[in-house]
Amino acid sequence: MGILKQVFGARAGKRVSRSMGGDLGIFSLMIVVAAFMCLPFVYAIMQSLKPMEEIFIFPPRFFVRNPTFENFRMIGRFANSLWVPFSRYLSNSVVVTVTATLGQIVFCSMAAFVLSKGSLRGRKVLFSTIVAMLLFSYEVTAIPLYIVLSRMNLVDTHGALILPMFAAPLGLFLMKQYMETVPIAVIESARVDGAGPFLVYARIVMPTVKPAWLTLVILSFQAIWSREGLEFIYSEQLKVVPTLLRQISAGGIARVGIGAAAAVIMMIPPIVTFVVSQSRVIETMAHSGIK
């Protein structure tokens, strides 16, 4: 059973409450579930590489035999049929995601600093309001938000997708919880040296809580990147990639190949960013408890 030792690592006799049968059971279960989790990804990659005739072959095959990038080229042609080049959807997505993420990091981290290390009154009330708002996801508030956005003439502008993300409750929550771990002594000593709150925030706290804002970058990037914003954007030239993806996939089997190709393009950025930053994300989440 050398493989189990490989998978679970040596325990150096510390944790005695482990049986080999249990290890084997856990390992098998994990493999099965991991296969289920992977299936759509592998299927998407396979379909995206299949030429037309392989997609329509009957009985269908799971694996691709003559891989081609034709489907990726077809995305551009499909987008052109909507009179908007694919690069436009992509640049819209990038602009919206980057602006919203940057704004969220700056706004949330400054506010989190004040809430965790500041001296303003009412901090506790504000924080518990924010924690309560964690409950309402963007889907649940979409229609009331639509009413507010339309009063502000923001509907059908990128502002509708960007501005509400600046003050995301989850962003502030994670930042504030992590900042609680910065020892007050560090901040006091900087204050004695004459540094104002902003200097303390920018020079001392932000470098210390780097895992937290990197995590926020990842989470906010992922959330905004995959948002369709169907309710808020009507003009084709303002739409983002996920909206295009839905329009493609609504076309049924004839568009399986292009749809899969677009999905593959969509999934690369969030997955790559997570791989790069996984350890920091986990470190930040270690402080995510709600008491």
Partner: protein
Amino acid sequence: MRQEPVPTPLIHPARSRLSSPLGGLRRMASSGRLTEAAMIAPFLTFFLLFTILPVAAAIVLSLTDFDMIRMPRFIGFENYVRLFIEDDVYLIAVKNTLVFAMITGPLSYFACLVFAWLINELRPGIRSVMTLLFYAPSIAGNVFFIWIFIFSGDANGLVNSTLLRLGILQDAVKWLTDPRYSLAIIILVQLWLSLGVGFLSFIAGLQSIDPSLYEAGAIDGIRNRFQEFVKLTLPSMGPMLMFGAVMQIAVSFGVSNVCSALAGFPSTDYAAHTIVLHMQDYGTLRFEMGYASAIATLLFLTMLLLKRGISKILSRYAA
């Protein structure tokens, strides 16, 4: 003639400057409060505008008839009465959402917990790979739509073609448009999507438990890993469990996108119609904003009550 006495200032000039509004500002500046206020102001403004205001507006507008063009007209609880008495589709949506939330909510929550726990048993290198594999669905953008092709209703769909070849099915099944199957498929896809932020939070929580706790437990007679999990691990994860629960409620009741993408909008016989989809229907297609607001208000209330209940249960088990 008496000379008018020179009025003596009641307050010393220096002190009066301090107590004037400007003096207050200056004092705040010297203690850094003004900077603090300036630092929290951007967040606060956007939070009030785009989170608090929509929620408050929904509550107020739920008592009105409002079509976005004319002024809202106060009609009392008419919208709520209409929801429960006249709107059969709403009741279907409520039923579907509750079925959905009652199944995916607890299942996803336990999946997050159990898989985080199992992953934590692995060696660090393999642990990161597994974390990525399990977390990937919830971050990979709208890739869930690939399930449309897996459960495609023609003989070319992955599930249909496999089951046909194995002889389990005689004819292709319309998995997504047949009201008998659509909600079940959506539940399956939602489970696939469910290992999200809460899952990461649990993994992190497990990793930050002090190993000496387990050593002490082993000495005190903990015999197997289930005992260890129930007696040692869970109680030290209390706050994480609450965070995970909040995230899970948010996801389970917000379900809409997956439904409309997989089963279409509206779905056959409204078999995959949810509360959020019903709200979107009235909000973005019919512009009956008062009515949509009433749906939103009830949804807010349900979620808050559920959170309270869960918080009570959790505080009893894991303190």
